[in-house]
Subunit: 419 residues, 2 copies
């Protein structure tokens, strides 16, 4: 049904996340090629260094190192006027009726099958901040970890609560992560023990990548925020619940999170997502003026989580949507910078777990198993409360309307035994 408009001369399978309307950006390499920027149409990865070398981007006089690079940062730093123009140029070049078609079909090294390239971490992440912007998630966690009758803390409806996370341990989809070890306080014990985590969890999140740098002391308003966002990705904020529970008061998450977080390899531009904007939940009480916004600022992006035990088929265990977020991206950015905190190209900001109103939309095992009180049944007969060794967590995200599907591919993480 999808992707029937604006056809391209590159084959796009039905229900592909990557029609010609998407044109995301990522970094890939092969056994013979250094890291470079690519885009993807259908199951075909296009090498942008080849397009650049053959003068298809000559209007912008860019240095070859912008495209032959281990990260997207130099490309993003060119600014939206250039990155959008290049994206539009790619859309035009690969359209069904493009006059350059024969020329491009004969260009050596332009195309690769998606499964013959290795996708790398797309961005050199300067700072990473994780928000906590789903009211359902914050309420669920508050019920379980704190007070069921006062689950939401007093500041939650006033502030897009967030915290700084670890940038060094953010890896790209497909990178396996070892179960972390650390201090946990067993139930009813008075002294902590050293142990591997017994309560390994995922958190279903979306991230966005900063596209424009600010100076220390300046702020980004809600109205201007969209100028500062390059694109989005899926984000798996892996969490060791037992380590987190013992450490997080009073200074927040630390070793329960910083052993590894995972992003999807293709950064989908905000321009590709523009038509999927949708209203978010009503905010009550009214927020302070610097957080007030106009128009639809959430996105109708469908989110799915699959659990795949070793050797088994993946079972879908969660269906959520970006639209459930209480706090939107312009509000998060306006809040983050209202005190003068500077932001840089390549910073990553994540949403926090995106849970929806019903149980099947909860974005973490903590919530899905209600802190381990109930078992999730998988299709293959397995059951899960938390992640077991060799399980792979698969997250998917896509927006779909009017026959066009703009997707993110997937964000896959296998958990290996503790070292």
């Amino acid at each position: 049904m999808s992707n029937t408009n604006n056809p391209t001369w590159i084959h796009v399978p039905e229900d592909s996340d990557f029609p010609i309307q998407n044109i995301p950006f990522g970094i890939f390499k092969t056994a013979h090629l250094k890291p470079r920027i690519g885009t993807r149409i259908g199951d075909t990865v296009l090498d942008l260094t080849v397009l650049h070398k053959n003068d298809f981007f000559k209007a912008w006089s860019l240095d070859p190192s912008v495209f032959e690079n281990s990260y997207l940062n130099a490309f993003i730093s060119q600014g939206k006027s250039i990155t959008n123009a290049i994206r539009n140029q790619i859309i035009q070049l690969f359209s069904e009726d493009a006059v350059e078609r024969t020329l491009l079909q004969n260009l050596e090294g332009l195309t690769y099958a998606a499964d013959e390239v290795e996708m790398l971490l797309p961005v050199q992440i300067g700072d990473y901040t994780d928000f906590y912007s789903s009211i359902e998630h914050a309420t669920n966690v508050g019920k379980m970890f704190r007070d069921p009758n006062n689950a939401l803390l007093p500041n939650w409806r006033h502030i897009p609560v967030g915290y700084h996370g670890r940038a060094s341990s953010i890896v790209v989809s497909g990178t396996a992560i070892h179960r972390p070890k650390g201090q946990i306080l067993p139930k009813d014990a008075e002294q902590p023990i050293f142990s591997q985590s017994r309560l390994m969890d995922f958190e279903l999140e979306m991230g966005y990548i900063i596209g424009k740098t600010t100076a220390l002391g300046s702020s980004v308003s809600v109205e201007k925020a969209s100028e500062y966002v390059f694109g989005m990705c899926i984000f798996n904020d892996l969490t060791a619940r037992d380590i987190q529970k013992w450490e997080y008061v009073p200074l927040g998450p630390f070793l329960g999170k910083n052993f590894g977080s995972v992003i999807s390899p293709w950064i989908v531009t905000m321009e590709a997502l523009e038509t999927f904007k949708i209203n978010g939940p009503k905010q009550e009480p009214e927020v302070l003026p610097y957080l007030q916004f106009e128009g639809a600022q959430n996105f109708d992006i469908q989110l799915e989580v699959y659990m795949q035990p070793q050797g088994a088929q993946p079972s879908r265990i969660c269906q959520s949507n970006h639209k459930y977020l209480y706090w939107n991206i312009p509000q998060q950015l306006a809040h983050h910078t209202v005190n003068g905190c500077n932001i840089n190209v390549g910073d990553l900001y994540a949403s926090g777990t995106i849970s929806g109103p019903d149980e099947s939309s909860f974005g973490s095992l903590l919530e899905l198993s209600w802190s381990g009180q109930k078992e999730l049944k998988l299709q293959d007969g397995n059951t899960r409360k938390f992640i077991e060794d060799y399980d792979t967590v698969i997250m998917k995200a896509y927006a779909e309307a009017n026959g066009i599907r703009i997707g993110f591919g997937s964000c896959n993480t296998q958990i290996l035994p503790a070292l």
Copy 2:
């Protein structure tokens, strides 16, 4: 009295922080010179690119870009075997009886007066973590913000508590910072207001810079930790107490801190500080095995804070010492990496506010004014509870024994009015 041993042919004023036994590393520039690595002896800054160009470091075959660089990271990445050898070479070259003396005295562009160069942020900071390792500070804060009878939280004596901070807003001494704005909850109010911070504070801390990178999944043991630490600096963890108080539950400090933090420009090597090691406080109860250590792991580094209102002389308002820290650097690093979190050259880890046992050693205005309940009297007749606009906070740190003083210079920050 100080610095009478191992004289150098460069003039070193009495009580200088920079005798020939120090040889710290920093980045400087002038109106005519690009950023480059320097060291400092007395009030003289030495340009290491000139020493390199003239083959004084030829034993190590380093690329010129290691020294002509905006950051120390490439230099630190060479490893301690090289950076220590270069430091020792500098000590030898500038000794009183060095055979190279005449040659060096005639080298053009080798020396600058310290007050004619501009010191820059010395390190490109990847990740920044702030610990909370002073038991006196944690107890004082707990008494004021939480429960006076249970000031120390249950995990505090088991875990070197820490949190991730913002790297982008760390600036070098001398950079003025504007008073931040944000949400605060006025006393007895039910709704927050938007306001400039009324409770601007400093936190007296020491930072250390990581000298060796690890891979995700690996851990640094207490025994091996010293191999991973390049050197130390003074760190002023500016804090807006009113913003912090309203935002920090449950995910920790965020906008109350990330508007700006300040480090001193000279990174003093761990080798220069080695002889000042001293035992820290006894840890009770006994810590878990991965945190157990041998020998003296604190440092006898004297710390001072001065408050200087505009147009007035600085008044000393705090005298503390690094030795008061309950948790030491090897324990902090072992804890930070025990879950597999990777560390990188250039990461900054700060101690948390270093308060001592008596009131004059408290390392923040929050503690010195006991949350604004008492006024600090300054020498010039001014009084302070928190930082006022145009005040400059000056932090100093030095270790002194046997006639040798190894110092850090100072870390100065003027607070400007909110924008």
